[in-house]
Symmetry: C2
């Protein structure tokens, strides 16, 4: 009785760790959101899979726990890292609800979007940073606003996950306006769409320009701080070394 | 003329990505801190290496740029992720100082300690979080204090890098005291020492207990928020799903 919770990284198979690949191979069933299963399915073509639509996370984790209870090994996959907005926490909560704590859980980390987006843009997260999701499905928008405001005030670089959705088309603009009330509107920023996948695109721009930009839900945004500069078209936050 | 800046993850070879391994193989020279070179050297035993002691980061990056200028391919390695307190930013700054912007730079992300420590402890970073280094070599301690205080006030889980050194034996206690002035001293926390390496150890404890704990420089600390609980001896931050 075992559940692996596996972070599969940004998308391309080469950014999976050896440990993640081994765990996928060791599993009888792979559970996840279909888009992310499709990205890794060719690596383990013979495995049984189970997916639910978006927002089906609880159902997916319950199915994983029920299947693991029958003695099978189950891989629950998240894109990026399994523990950063991924399924790791929910698996523990579902196990608790089922009162079934004998199933062994192993969390296998992956490259989270903060790291993969930063690598595409340059090096904007070389010093202290905050990671904030703009999705208000599970977190109150008022709390998200407070985090944006205090993170900017404290001088963190900020990495934004889930910047947009059909219902939340203006959230990135609202977020940028809050941040601009704390730091300069000329602060260098950047974003990456479809990291490590077909159609990868990135752009470097000012905070003010970012506020006017339309991005989609497959985009990761990074907002610099007062030590962030553009060097040769790359976004770089100085840590303070004397070069 | 190419420089790869490679994040080698927590330590064990299985947590390297395929892309990182391929870049190591493609390089003529591997540059890094000796401890981290030793962890990956067996994967590419025939490669030339160059290391300097701790605090030799600028010298290392200059050597990498000078060697790449002669036409060689150079891998600069960082443990964890190359862009999170890693060498990616410094490489761009050194290239700028040399006025040599023709060298191609490719940043290859790795599993950062926030993700690998979280995976060992459970799932404490499932929602918004901040990453803060307690090293005041390059950042003023006053700025670090502000970040600790505002991150706790905003309800971020907090991942602490570089919690201690010989000279900074009491910094983790000071950090915990600042955070305890904002959130409950019974907040669940945890730390992991030597993640993914020989001698890995982890512990889950309250914020108040953490303040009295002695940890070393190879330790990563995670401080929960008001949604963090201990489930079956694992540190779990609820994202808010209805289970």
């Amino acid at each position: 009785m075992k559940i692996y919770v596996i972070g599969t990284g940004p998308g391309e198979a080469s950014q999976l760790t050896g440990k993640a690949l081994k765990a996928l191979n060791d599993s009888d069933l792979i559970v996840g959101y279909q888009v992310y299963i499709d990205l890794i399915k060719h690596l383990v073509p013979d495995k049984e899979t189970f997916s639910t639509p978006m927002k089906g996370e609880v159902e997916r984790c319950k199915y994983a726990v029920e299947t693991a209870s029958t003695g099978k090994k189950v891989a629950v996959i998240s894109s990026g890292d399994a523990g950063i907005y991924g399924m790791a926490g929910l698996i523990y909560e579902v196990l608790e609800a089922y009162g079934n704590l004998e199933i062994q859980v192993e969390i296998i980390p992956g490259i989270t979007a903060a790291a993969s987006a930063a690598a595409v843009l340059g090096a904007p997260l070389t010093n202290d940073f905050a990671v904030i999701s703009l999705s208000d499905l599970l977190t109150r928008w008022e709390d998200i606003e407070i985090r944006l405001r205090l993170a900017a005030r404290a001088g963190f670089a900020i990495c934004i996950y889930n910047p947009s959705s059909r219902r939340r088309g203006d959230y990135l603009r609202k977020a940028c306006e809050i941040i601009m009330s704390e730091i300069s509107s000329s602060t260098p920023c950047g974003y990456v769409k479809n990291i490590g996948r077909e159609g990868q695109e990135s752009k470097i721009l000012t905070l003010e320009e970012l506020a006017a930009e339309q991005v989609d839900m497959f985009t990761t945004v990074i907002i610099g701080n007062s030590n962030t500069r553009v060097i040769n078209n790359r976004l770089v936050t100085s840590r303070g070394y004397r070069v």
